[in-house]
């Protein structure tokens, strides 16, 4: 437990937003890079919380979903692991945070997520809630997650996703929002995660089924917003996952489609109006907005590349076939449930 010298809680944020709505606009950046030599990696970019910047350094070596798994790298997360961590931790934070605002004391909360990518297969979130509250209150909390969790709301809404390609010698090309009818089956493997809440906005995300020996992805808010910079926040995980999946696709198909290897860099961005989560403005949009990614390529062999059109076609394909992109842009069927852990005291 931390030593409670917090001087900024969501309470102050709510009142600040009511005085100046622009303070409620949070902007996030997730960056990913695919290099023929160094493989796939992701990092967060500087975030803006209203007018305050938070520039933290979190970098992850990722397992490339397009590369066969070897025994040595199975502990590294994949892009879908990052994305599910973002969705699960946002739901967890909404449930615990909102419940705490109602005065509920939680002993432990965890959530298991699955995402199969198969057509019509639901995304599932199964919460285990250890708190001395009646079952009706648990149902209320689950309902609030459905209504107020920004990443959950993004999952079930149709959120436009834009992309832009930045060739080094030509003007930036902008893509239209991804067209769901053009989507193909994602090559990404199914994702499963187990997340457990620790304290305040902090949680840990593990491969599922849970093993205490597994490396955890740490989730936290920045110190500018109630956290202590222990890890990226939920929206940053989602953006990193999205950027990484697009970068992985580009890396996997670069040689076959363009005739040469390349270093691909993808920057995914989104805006969250936190007034939606906090209900500071009842009319505020809850889901993420202005979601998009910007792609750039560098290669010693770039001069031998095929036409710009070939590159744009590859980028368009990478964006439109991204399973994580589809989680954002297409409304998903989500099964959400809650149970008490076996050790929990009976409801009162």
């Amino acid at each position: 437990m931390r030593n409670s010298f917090n001087t900024a809680s969501f309470s102050e944020v709510v009142h600040e937003i009511r005085e100046d709505a622009s303070e409620g606009l949070f902007r996030y950046v997730g960056r990913a890079r695919h290099s023929p030599l160094r493989g796939l990696s992701a990092e967060v970019g500087p975030a803006m919380f209203g007018r305050v910047k938070s520039a933290r350094r979190f970098t992850y070596a990722l397992r490339d979903p397009f590369t066969p798994v070897t025994t040595s790298d199975t502990d590294e997360p994949t892009p879908i692991d990052l994305a599910l961590t973002g969705i699960g931790s946002c739901s967890l934070m909404t449930l615990v945070g909102g419940g705490s605002a109602k005065g509920i004391v939680f002993d432990a909360v965890s959530v298991d997520l699955t995402c199969d990518h198969a057509d019509k297969a639901p995304v599932t979130l199964d919460f285990a809630i250890d708190a001395e509250i009646r079952d009706e209150r648990i149902d209320e909390l689950i309902q609030r997650v459905r209504q107020r969790s920004p990443n959950y709301a993004t999952l079930v809404a149709a959120v436009p996703v834009h992309w832009a390609w930045e060739p080094s010698t030509a003007p930036t090309r902008r893509g239209e929002p991804a067209d769901p009818t053009r989507s193909r089956r994602s090559p990404a493997r199914p994702g499963t995660r187990h997340l457990r809440w620790l304290s305040g906005p902090q949680s840990e995300s593990f491969a599922h089924p849970f093993s205490a020996a597994a490396t955890a992805l740490r989730v936290d808010n920045p110190k500018q917003l109630t956290g202590v910079d222990w890890g990226p926040n939920p929206q940053e995980y989602l953006m990193m996952g999205y950027a990484a999946e697009v970068a992985a696709h580009l890396g996997a198909h670069s040689r076959s489609r363009l005739g040469h290897e390349a270093i691909w860099e993808v920057t995914a961005r989104c805006t969250e109006d936190v007034s939606g989560l906090l209900r500071a403005d009842p009319a505020a949009v809850v889901h993420l907005q202005d979601v998009g990614c910007r792609v750039s390529m560098s290669s010693p062999a770039a001069s031998h590349a095929r036409s710009i059109g070939d590159i744009e076609e590859l980028v368009d394909e990478a964006v439109s076939t991204s399973a994580i992109g589809r989680l954002i842009s297409e409304p998903q069927i989500v099964d959400m449930a809650a149970r008490r852990p076996a050790s929990s005291p009976s409801a009162r």
Binding site: S4, A55, G97, A101, K102, G227
Partner: protein, 435 residues
Amino acid sequence: MDRTAIGFGEGHTPGAEWFDELRRRRIKGPISTQNRSLSRSLAPETLAVHAGTYEDPITGAVGTPIFQTSTFLLDQASYDAFADGALRDVPIYSRYGNPSQWSVQEKIAALEGAESAVATSSGMAAIAATVYALTNCGSHIVSAYDVYGGTYNLLREDMPSAGRDVTFVDPLDLDAIRAAVRPETQLLLFESLTNPMLKAPDIRGLARIAEEAGALLVIDNTFLTPINVRPLDLGADIVVHSATKYLGGHSDLTAGVATGRRKFVDRIWAQVLRFGGTLDPLVCFLLERGIKTLALRIRVQNENAVALAGYLASSPYVEAVHHPALGGKGHEALRPEDYRGFGGMVGFEVAGGDERALRFMSHLTLPYVATSLGGVESLVSMPANTSHSSLTRRQMSTIGINPGLIRFSVGIENVGDLVEDVQTALKTACEVEDR
């Protein structure tokens, strides 16, 4: 409130159903009901005397009492503060807060036109806590290559291992500052008047760059004090001071302060707690008492410095004089309308270099040869063998520290006496001993 839910449940009241019904909000201060809270629109002379003064309800003492205690009786308000994570506004333990601190903090906040202030055990404690509190590991800071040596050492020697990258630039070159900004730039840290060359950066221009970059602008206002300029009014986000200097004003204490919006100062306060740079109650008393005469002292020091600079500019024994009132290099961007004066510092180069400068100082009979500045007594020193002695000649030349440079902190003595003493010392050092 359950402390594991930190950040979520503060401000909870019975019946609250969601975040929007939480009641805790930022208030100015901290101050108690006994501290005088005055409108920031009052003149600085008035604020310096009255703002923050603790009006003791038992004795009616006119002066602020010294709360020389490390701890306070716990009561329900204390327990509520613990439970709600709001320890800054309740007297619990002097490292968290003490009415002596609140008194001087409120006085300085009022003078700088700020919501809140936190007093620290030195100027460097204030700067270090501010830099750490307002930046993250992975961020970038822009500062001046001729910033105060203590600040430079912090930025140069501690920031890399703390994950903060720093770019040092000419504080007068706004284009260079803009070019140094990166996406992860979080802080611009400059001085309202630099040490020892007395350059006056364009604070409004710096504020524009900071705003465009989404960064915060921190101004060290030690040399000018809020009597001469209020950087927050010009767009800065945080003002820091070595209160050891002009604010204290009597060369008898070591203290610092950071002031600005409570949103930021609360974070600096929490950092001060963790670093342990709390200001002792007795020193708080000395500082608060000293500030009561700040406006008077600064007015005299402004005038004395201009008079001394004028004399030095006409002296055949002086190569160059650095003072904003004289204009010239380093002061092109200065907007006179933003300043009420330029403080008591004068820089000048004794013709003949360091040896003559040393001789000159040894012949002075009124000023003390000592480091520090801002006291009622005049102090002189040479940057080349004190504050900037770790620099090479070439580095010194780059920032304008030429041979023979003297830093003169003008006190409140009679300026005629000071000028006469300087005149005699220069003549003795440059003529008599050269024979």
